[in-house]
Amino acid sequence: MLFNNLDQLYRSVIMDHYKKPHNRGELDGDHCVTVNMNNPSCGDKIQVSLKIEDNKVVDVKYLGSGCAISQSSASMMTEAIKGLAIDKIHQLTFDFSEMVQGREHNDDMDLGDAEALHGVSQYPARIKCATLAWKAVEKALREADKKEKSHQ
């Protein structure tokens, strides 16, 4: 077999999201916030847009370019967080980050397809690829929070 264990990292669900990404695009208008994030060590780029109503992310889109891990992770992230309350999303991004670093994490959380990225923990050099989109969500939530506070 080619490349021992490499299919433990590149699971078919990951490659599906990479080739046919979900929720690509940009959101614009009321209650929307868009942020950009780079991984300067490798050049991966991501843009995440959230639409937030009543403390809930009612819609999410992303744009970006990069490797199979970073781009599939972004696609799966959008599926995992859409429709969730903000505090729930904070928990989810934390659990995802713990999972890909191989730490104990809360198994009850529904990461959806993103669960398939647990194999990244065996590839420390690729953890940053997997977490980029999730860090961008956290950044977008901080921006939204700032925006709301300045309106009050």
Binding site: L6, C42, G43, A68, I69, A125
Partner: protein, 406 residues
């Protein structure tokens, strides 16, 4: 050259990585170290560790002698005319920053021009961007041909009488292009500009003669040429270094200090504030000894064969795009259609093959190549033809693996 004997000198190459023999093809990032370099540094720490140019005790004297002997080895290695022209730095990045801030900042003004190439490493780009912003000078670029080379006719058209600094890498860390720095220096000097050469990727692989190049400044790193990290060199013509004010001041670089004023030590120490990387300098001296035992011409000749083999093997693989000219220094940058460089790199790593994936600290160049990143395999004289074959095989397998799962 007897590669198998040479490889015995590099302990790191004997190991297995991910169940395979290590195939180390990331030499443009950093080279491996022979036992002689490692042992030289151990000897320093075990038997004569002391500060230099301070104490009059025995160990201090030995350390100072070895430290200055290494400087003399470096002087001979690049054929500088005096050891006053060899300034120890942390590496190429610090050397280039010293030139930009220590020389450029005080001498450049509004309307002056700095000219570099689109293939510069960020280390020979951002210091000039910053100095241009601070002084009002204009940062301009030589046009680059589609194959990643420079055309001397266009170089001549780009340099004007406003040009005060020309700074060019001798070898591109992404494309392997060998730039005609001697000819560019001549044109720069005709217009009264100084010529700065980034020698980070050339010094490890070919004979460097700074007097023959007529470079005003020349920068390189120890760790890419068998030496340790954290030590590098700034070469400068003596009259230019004499005219520079130190940008770092403190211990070791003074002549006399009173409550309000200080005067500077002579070159080279004037530009070396603080306790230097003594073990690093001595280790770099040992690295130069090793390189000279093999001979720089033999190294260059062998790497040319190795690189030609890699270039030919990879260009025959369908779906592989190679970047840069066919005549090149020891590296190949490429992409596999439809597979991101990081994924290629992870796949090769699982076979024990270490390559670099990314923008290689040359983001503007990536935009010229119309890609965001590449895979780079870079060679040194201890690499074997078998390792080139392992690389080609790994690339074919990666193509197949990602072709299947896609």
């Amino acid at each position: 050259m007897d590669i198998q004997t040479i490889r015995q000198d590099f302990p790191i190459l004997k190991q297995q990585v991910n169940g395979h023999h290590l195939v180390y093809l990331d030499n443009s990032a950093t080279s491996q170290k022979p036992v002689s370099v490692i042992q030289t540094m151990v000897d320093y720490y075990e038997t004569y560790n002391s500060n230099v140019h301070r104490g009059v005790h025995t160990l201090g004297t030995i350390a100072t002698d070895r430290y200055e002997e290494a400087r003399e080895k470096i002087r001979r290695f690049i054929n500088a005319s005096s050891e006053k022209e060899i300034i120890y730095t942390m590496g190429t990045t610090q050397s280039l920053n010293l030139i930009a801030y220590g020389y450029g900042l005080a001498r450049l003004g509004k309307g002056d021009e700095i000219v570099i190439t689109p293939m510069e490493h960020h280390a020979n780009l951002i210091p000039w961007q910053q100095v241009a912003k601070k002084t009002g000078a204009v940062l301009r670029y030589f046009p680059m041909e589609a194959d990643g080379t420079l055309d001397l006719v266009k170089v001549r058209e780009t340099i004007t009488n406003q040009t005060k600094v020309v700074s060019v890498t001798e070898v591109s860390n992404v494309l392997g292009t060998v730039n005609p720095v001697k000819e560019i220096a001549k044109i720069a000097h005709e217009h009264g500009a100084i010529m700065v050469v980034d020698g980070a990727q050339s010094t490890p692989h070919m004979t460097v003669d700074v007097q023959d190049l007529d470079a005003d400044f020349f920068a390189f790193s120890g760790h890419k040429m068998l030496g340790p990290t954290g030590i590098g060199v700034l070469y400068g013509k003596q009259e230019l270094l004499e005219a520079m004010e130190p940008i770092e001041t403190g211990g070791e670089m003074i002549d006399e200090v009173n409550f309000q004023n200080a005067t500077w030590a002579e070159l080279p120490w004037k530009l070396e504030a603080g306790t230097p990387h003594i073990a690093g300098a001595i280790g770099l001296g040992a690295a130069i000894d090793y390189l000279q035992r093999i001979g720089m011409d033999a190294i260059q000749h062998y790497e040319e064969q190795l690189t030609a083999k890699a270039y030919n093997m990879l260009s025959e693989i369908e779906g592989v795009t190679l970047y840069g000219p066919s005549k090149r220094s020891g590296l190949v940058s490429f992409n596999i259609e439809g597979v991101h460089p990081h994924d290629v790199s992870t796949a090769l790593d699982s076979e024990g093959i270490a390559v670099r994936a990314g923008h290689h600290c040359a983001q503007p160049l990536m935009s010229c190549l119309k890609c965001e990143s590449t895979v780079r395999a870079s060679f040194y004289f201890y690499n074997s033809e078998d390792e080139i074959e392992a690389l080609a095989k790994g690339i074919k397998e990666a193509k197949e693996f990602f072709g299947h799962v896609v």
